[in-house]
Amino acid sequence: MAELETFREETRRWLQANAPASMYTPYKTQDELCWGGKKMQCPPDTKRWLEVMAERGWTAPTWPKEYGGGGLAKAEAKILAEEMGKLRLRPPLIGFGLSMIGPLLLQEGSEELRRAHVPAIAKGEIRWCQGYSEPGAGSDLASLQTKAIRDGDIFVVNGQKVWTSYGDKADWMFVLVRTDFEAKKQDGITFLLMDMTSPGVSVRPILLISGSSPFTETFLSDVRVPVRNVVGNVNAGWAMAKVLLGHERTMIADAFKERDDAKRLVSLAREYVGEADGCIADPLLRDAITQVAMDQACLDLTLERSRDNMKAGHKPGPETSIFKYYGTELNMRRRELMVSITGPQGLGWEGPGYDEDELKLTRDWLRSRGNSIEGGTSEVQLNIIAKRVLGLPD
């Protein structure tokens, strides 16, 4: 116990000594954070923060030191997270490398793949994207058709992926391909790591209803991928895909942990709705704000409980579906509410009459409609809970 307290002291002192001042300012969306990668463009402070944290391995606190992580025990990592939370420090690095493919490689990857990819993720050198969905395979992901034909120690990949988030910004893609065309659909899938600069890879941005274009269609034509880039075994990629989806769902819920959430809603309401007798003037909006803040508190405690359970040696299970379902539904409710609070000022698309924050709030609301679709739809999460947790029949 005393050792942990010393660790807490030292950690706080180190953070205060090393974090650039601008890293204490709250961020409104994840776009303001550092995603790493070769095409990274970010302000000097953000870059500096990444470097000092990566140096300590604290971009990935619990990963082993030999793979660029911090080698912290879960209890220490919890303290680091708590201290960063208290100081309101931004995370130094986020992305699919840290949250999805890194954990999978550490869990299931060969030694060669780990050495090749994990340290580069922890340092923020390589940015990853996820090539799961296809035009004909969304919720029914296992029906994917992108094919990989073996040619010696090379797979030749042909097909199309879609909704590839940040496909144009990523350096590498983890991709699901079909390698057996006779087997049951789940049994013919292989999990590959693919360099996006390989000949035959092309991406085309897709414009969202929010006006931004964070993802792409990805076309793969005779792309040559070494067989050593298979994670797990050939034709056994479905199991890998599912482990990774578990990590993804937890990450999605975590991403919606917005600090000072109630405060932001309240200050918006004070500004746009006004007060009466010291209370927000519209009692329905006031109640909705409180509901969001309270639901968030319950979700935060649930995430904490799940982490403490894992620390106590319990395996993560289908509860990740709870986080995905509830975290996204809650975030969408929050975004809806922000537009309701802002009223007609929340309806601007661009141009005069609306300030920058208002325009952003509106577009964030539009973007949030995708939360219950990306990473497995809400309906799919409910199917998983009904089947795996409640044991309801097919």
Partner: protein, 382 residues
Amino acid sequence: MDLVLSEEQELLARTVREFVNGRSSLKRVRRLRDRHDADGFSRELWREMAALGWLGIVVPEEYGGAGLGWLELMVVLEELGRGLMPEPMISTVLLGTSALLLGGTDAHKREHLPAVAGGERLLAVAYEEPRSRYDLNHVEARAEKSGSGWLLSGEKAHVLDGHVADWLIVSARTSGGPRAAGGITLFVLRADTPGVTIERQSRIDSRNAARVRLDDVRVGAETVLGTVDHGGALLARVLDRATIGLTAEMLGGMTAALEMTVEYLKTRVQFGVLIGTFQALKHRAAKMYIETELARSVVMGAHRALDEGRDDGTIARLASVAKARCADAFNLIAKEGVQMHGGIGMTDEHDIGLFLKRARVAEMTFGDAGHHRDRVARLEGY
């Protein structure tokens, strides 16, 4: 403190569950109701629970308790809640004990707590009035100075376990207008003090509640709990603790109601298939499950905060967050439970209806969800 149960707490949960399953079926609960049992609970079981140490869990050892934590109490309350046990935990172990621990003098504690932990004394806290709704400060009952003591008069309602209590803790106004925050004082007196009339109420969940009339009840100065005129703040702290404990009971109730419903989805056949294959029902069942998980987290978080000795503001906020969540979740699960049982769910014979009734009463005990959201907003200053 991590948000997981320790091995000892898990073991305690199993012990209580076995006790509930072995000694208190829902049949017993029905029997108490149908026979209009004079006590409304079993004194024999109460003595057994005392012997097992469950009534004095949070009472310090020097006052005859076990000196354990709120998480241990949570585990017990949750299991009792699964079985809808009507024994007087909320009145005696949560409300009464907390009032004495937070407001009592050493003499008060010595007088009452060992007897409470030993199962020999029941307490009831009479703070609600016929028109007070959820406002603790709405106190019309009066206490007038009389010699060295006080003269109490007024009317209290919805007093949990009022008609079986040996002692009452009563809120009365010693100064200020009928809704003023200051000027409230708590008194602890014998239930058979002359001038006290107790009339049993009958509510949908058939648990004990009573009206208490005070007609010029003469009590001594030593009956004041806490300080004169400052009983309102004390009462709020007492109710936060009782509210947190009640959410543990509600968690048990909603979990049991969900399990009962899921079981039915796996056995009832219509259109030649199990009704649990219908996605319209599956998704609703999954949402009910999510609600129980979120409820469990906040209920544990609130009990942990008490064990960690957090400040009153934090406790108040968590009590309200937990209560609002459990009120909504328990009601949802109970209502959906009835719906998914179809016609049989509407019959008195089926147990799911017992949970619906308890959910509604528990919701309004110590304030409903809307009340607690309003309170959180006030605590946060908006």
